[in-house]
């Protein structure tokens, strides 16, 4: 492709120069040839005319006397001349007086040339001007003929030998010169034709030589131009292939030399730029590598920390789970023996001991509850909690919770009310865990409600559409009788008239170890884990738990669980 392009340039140069040379050769050669031929011809004609005129002048005596000797003498000078083929002298009536020349001795010349053309004779007699004409002799040889009149001055008066007589007036003094004969000179065109042919040959030869020379020169010139370009192209190609450090030897001071110099400078600049870029890239790469190393280091540190942390957390949970169990065993023993003592199995308990024994039992139970809570939470966190699914009755669930807490409510003189919707279908779930949730909520309500307040536990069934689209569907308020409600959820609420929870605390009450105020723990007791465990248990049932509250007026805790829990835990 590259070579092709260069070849094409060379061809272009050749193609543009050769026609030029050819045109010049043809033009100048043709012109000079034409000029030369014309000059030659005109010289030839001039010479012929001069010869004829000369012959006419020198032949005057001969024609006048019609003396052969004089005529021969007149002819002698001219017949030896180059190119003169034949010479004739005629008298005024056209009679041939004498003839001579090389052509007459040749056998080919037709005798017709010897007679004088009448027309020419008449012209000579009247015009008295030299004339010429071309004669082609039977296609073999052509001649250029020249005619000149031989004029003689007539003398009418001897006086004219002494003085000039007037010649303007009529009568005796008219023009007294007359044509007494005609000189005819035939010049052979052989030499001039040969010369012309030679010139044409020479011209053709020179044209060929010039053409060849011009082509060679053009080739050399284009080579001189294309060679540096080729070198440049090759260098550029190598550069394109990545060998940036190219240098072209500069051996001329013309535009190409400048180009090469500029190219070299460009290559150097390019090399510098590329080096710079490579350096920057290297630095960047190093920086990247160190950064990656640091990140990896940090990540591994973090992972390590994370691992340690999760290990610690697991250990903590395992520890807690184990510990709770280990704690419960001796505590149960304590509680069991205490109850046995109080129940008088080991004999009558003295009255002064009974109260202390009761304290032991109460605190022991409290401790057990705390331990159970911690155990549950850690079980849940350790992922060891499993729901024990089974059908149960919501009514009996609430009833058992009420009966378990009635004594507590009675102690504080609280009204404890249960409002359970009639005909609730049996629910599927872990009744034990749901009881735990309900107990927690009711216990809390009793705990945080001052005397003569009330705690109301409500249970009702809720269809999914009812809470999914609470207000936008007016039909749901007046449901049509033919579409019987199919309850999907059970909603249990525990309302109290207690101290209430501030709005900003309402969201965080389900977090672990949180009560509304740390001071509350001191005042009301409790581990602070109850709500957290309740929330986890409800969520395990795929339900939700939330609360509404007004400070000073009371709180309502809602639990909504699916009627039939699908997930086993």
């Amino acid at each position: 492709m590259r070579i092709g392009r260069i070849t094409r340039f060379r061809t272009k140069v050749l193609l543009s120069i050769i026609p030029m040379i050819l045109a010049l050769c043809v033009l100048f050669g043709g012109m000079s040839l034409y000029q030369h031929n014309r000059l030659l011809h005109s010289e030839f004609v001039k010479r012929g005319k001069a010869l004829a005129s000369n012959l006419a002048a020198s032949g005057e005596l001969g024609v006048f006397s019609e003396d052969e000797r004089l005529l021969n003498a007149a002819l002698r000078g001219i017949t030896g001349e180059e190119d003169v083929a034949y010479v004739f002298i005629y008298n005024d009536v056209g009679k041939r007086l004498i003839g001579g020349g090389k052509a007459l001795t040749q056998p080919g010349l037709a005798p017709t040339t010897e007679t004088l053309n009448h027309e020419i004779r008449a012209r000579m007699l009247t015009d008295r001007q030299p004339a010429s004409r071309t004669v082609t002799e039977a296609g073999t040889e052509s001649f250029l003929e020249f005619y000149a009149p031989i004029v003689s001055a007539e003398v009418r008066l001897v006086e004219e030998q002494y003085f000039g007589m007037p010649r303007s007036t009529r009568g005796l003094s008219e023009d007294r010169s007359r044509v007494i004969g005609i000189a005819r000179v035939g010049l052979s065109m052989r030499n001039i034709d040969a010369h012309s042919a030679y010139l044409i040959k020479l011209w053709a030869l020179l044209s060929v030589v010039f053409l060849a020379g011009g082509a060679l020169a053009a080739y050399a010139l284009s080579r001189r131009i294309t060679q540096p370009i080729t070198r440049l192209t090759e260098s550029a190609a190598r550069m394109a292939e990545g060998q940036i450090d190219q240098e072209i030897s500069v051996d001329s001071r013309d535009e190409l030399g400048t180009l090469a110099t500029t190219y070299n400078e460009m290559a150097k600049a390019l090399t510098r730029t590329l080096d710079e870029r490579a350096r920057v890239a290297r630095e960047l790469r190093d920086l990247n590598r160190s950064l990656e190393d640091r990140i990896r280091e940090r990540t591994s540190q973090l992972e390590e920390t994370n691992r340690d942390l999760s290990r610690a957390s697991r250990h903590k949970s395992e520890f807690l789970a184990n510990m709770s169990h280990e704690l419960r065993t001796p505590l149960n023993a304590i509680l069991g023996f205490t109850e046995l003592i109080i129940d008088g199995i080991y004999g009558q308990v003295p009255d002064e001991l009974r109260e202390s024994m009761e304290d032991i039992r109460i605190n022991g139970r409290h401790l057990l509850r705390l331990i159970n809570d911690v155990l549950d939470l850690s079980k849940i966190e350790a992922g060891q909690m499993r729901l024990n699914l089974g059908e149960y009755s919501i009514q009996s669930l609430i009833d058992s919770a009420i009966s378990a807490t009635r004594s507590l409510a009675a102690e504080k003189r609280l009204e404890l009310v249960a409002q359970v919707e009639a005909d609730l279908p049996p629910a599927l779930g872990d009744s034990k865990r749901m009881t735990q949730v309900l107990m927690n909520l009711v216990g809390n309500a009793i705990k945080f409600t001052p005397g003569s307040g009330s705690v109301t536990v409500t249970a009702k069934s809720v269809s999914s559409s009812e809470f999914q689209v609470p207000s936008s569907q007016p039909e749901t308020r007046n449901p049509k009788p033919e579409t019987p409600k199919s309850p999907d959820f059970i909603e249990i609420s525990v309302a109290d008239t207690g101290i209430g929870i501030p709005a900003e605390e309402l969201k965080s009450i389900f977090s672990e170890f949180r009560q509304v105020d740390s001071s509350i723990t001191r005042e009301y007791g409790g581990s602070g884990l109850g709500l957290s465990i309740a929330k986890r248990l409800v969520e395990m049932h795929e339900g939700s738990i939330w609360a509404d509250s007004q400070v000073g007026k009371g709180s309502i805790f809602y639990v909504r669980i699916p009627l039939r829990t699908q997930w086993g835990g």
């Binding site: 003396d67 003689s152 009418r156 008066l157 001897v158 030998q161 007589m165 009568g171």
Partner: protein, 315 residues
């Protein structure tokens, strides 16, 4: 211009004729009336006229230029004859003499500047005489003899109808001087070539006579050529021929001189001499031209005497 001049001249002539007639009538015999008829307006003719006027004091000379036109001259002469006759007519030049000889028989006529007058004037003419341009033959022969004592045979080519009389005279005169004249008579110009060639071994010098037949330019050219080829000196007619290559050229000296010669003849006639007693004259003074270049080529030594005598020497 020439037309204007001619008209003007005619008017003057006419006026003069009238005035002259009146003068003649009132003062008879006091001043002779001469009509001068000029052949053409040529310098030499004008000179001759001046010379004539100069030599004829007391005569009234009335000029008329026929401008080389014979018809015009004849018309003038007819007018002249019808009026009062002049005492003498001067014919200057050959053409004037030709018509005067034809037309005028009863008026005395003197000619001037005419060559070979006998060819124009008939034998029986009685009223004409004059001064010819011819150079005396004896002078020419003597000149050739003086060039070299070896010159004994002189060649002459002539046309008997033109210069037969001259050659006859010359033969007689030559005999007196001990010279033999070798003559060849020709009748056409081209004969002169062969005639000349024929006499190349018979002559020591060539004498060109004023013969029209012989004087064609080619013939003169050939004679001069002949002269150089055969080393034969040529005596030419004029300075012109000497310049062309003739060794010598002998001619009349000037028109003025011929004119004054004619004036002398006229005064003789007017004073009562019979014309028949007055012969034609030849040039009294001659003009000699010597071509020394030709002399060198011909190997001829020109005597000092001749060189001193020569009016023009071409070196």
């Amino acid at each position: 211009m020439s037309l204007l001049t001619s008209r003007f001249t005619s008017f003057i002539v006419a006026a003069c004729v009238v005035v002259g007639a009146m003068v003649c009538a009132s003062t008879s015999g006091e001043a002779a009336k001469i009509i001068a008829l000029k052949s053409a307006d040529v310098d030499v003719y004008n000179e001759a006229l001046e010379g004539f006027k100069n030599g004829s004091h007391g005569s009234t000379v009335i000029e008329y230029d026929m401008e080389g036109d014979l018809q015009k001259g004849k018309k003038f002469l007819a007018r002249l004859k019808s009026g009062s006759k002049p005492d003498l007519i001067l014919a200057v030049g050959i053409w004037a003499l030709q018509i005067v000889a034809e037309e005028i028989q009863d008026i005395p006529v003197v000619f001037a500047m005419v060559l070979n007058p006998t060819t124009v004037i008939g034998q029986e003419t009685r009223n004409i005489t004059g001064a010819s341009m011819n150079v005396p033959i004896e002078q020419q022969l003597a000149l050739l003899k003086k060039i070299s004592p070896h010159i004994r045979r002189i060649g002459v080519i002539y046309d008997p109808s033109k210069t037969g009389w001259l050659v006859k005279q010359a033969e007689r005169l030559a005999k007196d001087q001990g010279i033999r004249l070798v003559t060849k008579a020709v009748t056409s110009p081209k004969d002169s070539f062969t005639a000349l060639d024929a006499m190349q071994d018979e002559i020591d010098a060539l004498w060109i006579v004023p013969d029209l037949t012989v004087l064609a330019p080619e013939s003169v050219q050939y004679m001069l050529l002949f002269s150089f080829r055969h080393k034969i000196p040529v005596l030419g007619l004029s300075e012109n021929q000497a310049r062309m290559g003739a060794l010598l050229g002998l001619s009349f000296e000037s028109g003025w001189d011929i004119g004054s010669q004619a004036a002398e003849l006229a005064s003789g006639i007017l004073s009562g001499k019979s014309i028949q007693e007055i012969p034609f004259t030849t040039a009294r003074k001659t003009r000699l031209t010597v071509n020394l270049k030709s002399a060198g080529k011909l190997g001829v030594h020109i005597p000092k005497e001749i060189l001193e005598r020569a009016d023009v020497v071409i070196r």
